[in-house]
Subunit: 98 residues, 2 copies
C-alpha cells in the first residue's frame, strides 16, 4: 500500500467514525421523539381528540424548511424525512389499535 | 373549555415543544452527517476508490440494530431510515456527477 493511499484511508476512517457517532445521536434522538409521539397518541385517544392536526403539521413543515435552510440541509430531503417519520408514527399507532 | 381539557392541552403543548427541539437536533445532525458523506464521496472519486463498500454497509446495518435495541427503537424502522438516508446520499452523489 502506498503512503498516499494509507493517508486517504486514514481520512476515510475518521469520517466514518464521525458518521457512526452521528448515527448514534440520530437513533437516540428518534427514540426520544417516539416517546413523545406515543404519549401524544395515548393522550389524544384518552381525551377523544382527533389523531391528526393539520395546523400543527403545517407548522412543522414550515419550521423544518427554516431549520433546513439554517443547517444547510436540502429542504426537500428534510420534508421527505419528516413524512417518512410521520408515516412510521401512524403505522405505530395503527399497530397499537389492532 | 373545561379545566381537564386545558390541562390536557398543556401536556400536549409540552410534548410538542420537546418534539420541535428534537427535530432541530435531527436536522443539524443530518446536516453534519451529509458533510462527512460528501467529503467521503469527493475523497473516493479523487482516489479512484469504489463508491460502494459492502463490508462497511454490513457493519453499519449490524451496528444500527444494536443501537436501536439499546435505545428502544424499532430496528426495522431504523434499518428503513438508514436506507432512506443512504438513497439520499446516492442521489446527491449522482446529482454532483451530472
Amino acid at each position: 500500500m502506498t503512503k498516499l493511499s494509507q493517508s486517504v484511508l486514514d481520512i476515510l476512517h475518521d469520517h466514518r467514525e464521525s458518521i457512526d457517532r452521528l448515527d448514534a445521536i440520530l437513533v437516540y434522538t428518534l427514540s426520544e421523539r417516539f416517546r413523545h409521539t406515543k404519549a401524544i397518541g395515548k393522550l389524544k385517544a384518552k381525551n377523544d381528540l382527533p389523531p391528526s392536526d393539520p395546523d400543527r403539521e403545517s407548522y412543522q413543515i414550515s419550521r423544518l424548511e427554516d431549520l433546513s435552510d439554517e443547517a444547510g440541509l436540502d429542504p426537500i430531503f428534510a420534508k421527505n424525512l419528516l413524512n417518512f417519520i410521520i408515516q412510521e408514527v401512524i403505522q405505530h399507532h395503527k399497530k397499537h389499535k389492532l
